[in-house]
Symmetry: C2
Subunit: 327 residues, 2 copies
């Protein structure tokens, strides 16, 4: 089994590599080779017995796809992307990476010819949806993104479905929830506070909450996201076709419920480290985001997320904090 991962240095990419290396296999087949690419050359994983080809490259350059596919990987995890805020600030860069880079990868697979038809798992996002929304979003709700990132992801979903329908590739698109608790330092993403109000208090630091406690959103842990990717890689294609793009399960909860979970797990003192500082700009952006889904197809296909925000916090404490909290 030869696996290609684009965006291998990103937060999800690194966790995916670690999980695959630990397992040593994917869907019952031994992993013999990993091809890893990102803007800079990804760090080759330690403790991996197989071959590694790790190289830095611009996914927006069609030559990158050709190089990445040279060894005909059996499974491709296409994670590389310019994030939402970045694609909004730099339209041309977002288009080049998110749309043209993905298309170049699909084209390179198509042009490989013969009977080469790898499983390609594409990380889409709930950013393909845009307000106004019903209270709960069904699997057959339309995609009307309100960011260029969301539009680019939605276009690649369409390409992936058509390339799969035509037999050029064996695609699965998974729409990730907002990933909480995102490890690392706070960033400037408008969604950053969903993670920082948990992460910073658990680390003994203050966090700023810019929106009302009543704001509801759709979450899954980084561990669950990696689980989605691995499950998607093993799904029988026939179970999906022709609708190969799936909204992933998650936890719908309000900010108040997030804080209550934090208090249950880490106590009042930790929860008191959240400072309310309303920001109408961020509140306005968040108002256009989906709150809750009814992801029946993904659940029926066996995708599993946490079922409470408590569980999401526990995953963070286990995976990022070595089980310890700064009380």
């Amino acid at each position: 089994m030869h696996i290609l991962i684009t965006g291998a240095s990103g937060m999800i990419g690194r966790k995916l590599v670690a999980r695959l290396v630990e397992a040593g296999e994917l869907n019952g087949r031994t992993i013999e080779k990993l091809t890893l690419t990102d803007v800079g050359a990804p760090q080759p994983p330690e403790k991996f017995a197989g071959k590694v080809d790790a190289f830095g490259a611009d996914i927006g350059d069609p030559a990158t796809a050709a190089r990445a596919l040279a060894g005909r990987p059996d499974t491709i995890f296409h994670l590389a992307a310019v994030v939402s805020g970045g694609a909004e600030l730099d339209f041309e860069k977002g288009t080049r990476v998110n749309l043209d880079g993905s298309r170049a990868l699909l084209e390179a697979v198509r042009k490989s010819g013969g009977d080469y038809r790898p499983r390609l798992v594409f990380t889409s996002s709930i950013a393909v949806f845009g307000a106004p929304f019903p209270d709960t979003i069904a699997d057959d709700f339309h995609l009307t993104p309100l960011t260029s990132y969301g539009a680019q992801k939605a276009m690649v979903e369409l390409l992936l479905a058509d390339y799969t329908r035509r037999g050029f590739v064996d695609g699965v698109g998974i729409r990730l929830p907002t990933i909480s608790v995102r490890p690392g330092r706070p960033n400037k993403a408008a969604s950053g506070f969903f993670s920082s109000i948990i992460r910073e208090p658990l680390a003994g630091e203050e966090a700023v909450l810019p929106v009302e406690d009543s704001v509801m959103h759709w979450h899954a842990s980084p561990r669950a996201a990696v689980g989605f990717l691995i499950h998607a890689a093993g799904l029988a294609g026939g179970k999906l076709a022709p609708r190969v793009n799936l909204t992933m399960p998650g936890v719908a909860c309000t900010i108040a419920e997030q804080i209550a979970a934090l208090r249950r797990i880490a106590g009042d003192k930790v929860a008191a480290r959240i400072r309310r500082e309303p920001d109408p700009l961020i509140a306005g952006i968040v108002a256009g985001w989906p709150r809750r889904f009814d992801p029946r197809r993904a659940l029926a296909l066996g995708f599993k997320a946490e079922t409470s925000f408590d569980a999401i916090i526990r995953v963070h404490i286990e995976d990022e904090l070595g089980g310890k909290v700064a009380i």
Copy 2:
């Protein structure tokens, strides 16, 4: 008022040019110039007092968009496309014209810079939808096309919405029903019989019906389609944003209802010219097509279609047969 029409030599394009020339104005502004393009140079319209720039060009070549936009048209009707069957047979050509050609046009508008922000009316299609369907398809139903043509149209809808949201263009996408009764000779399109079972009998010829009488589909006349385009050109953009792509109204009727309408209008002898010759291949293709929509947004915005198949047949007799039927 300067108007650009791509695909100006097509069936809808010619009728749109004729209607605009006859009116002499669009939304209360005198038409001073028409820029018309298609694969071959379109025939310049007779009896038009303004300027005409009619040229043949490949819309898949980015230079075409630059030339078409050189005079900064106020309104653009982007009709050029490789049709459904063509895009399915020749994937690269369909992608090049339907996706890349449309994107080149949008990019040329974006790069024009300054305050240039023309109204761009894009003809999408109900081919953006794919089975399975509910009995009636609502405006918020997802797009899961089952043809490359439908996927390409859906991707351009996403581009159009994002370019409009960002202020690069003032777009409106209209999803046309199947156009019935399509004038001219029978073609090999799988949908051809919806028109030919009316057109041929009215012209004294036999027509072949390859599907069951119970098959339901969504129709509008060529005259209604031109009406949609003109209405879309005059809509205030603020009424649409951010969901600028609209399913057009139409008539949902079965083959049996089509034939009953033909019998009411032209008599038993004409209706008897339909010969049933079941074709499982065509029946299978048609089974994946939408039957009926509930196009509330378009109706609320003032788009008007026929309300019966009788009316659609009468339009054909008036517009194509000079009011005469071969009894």
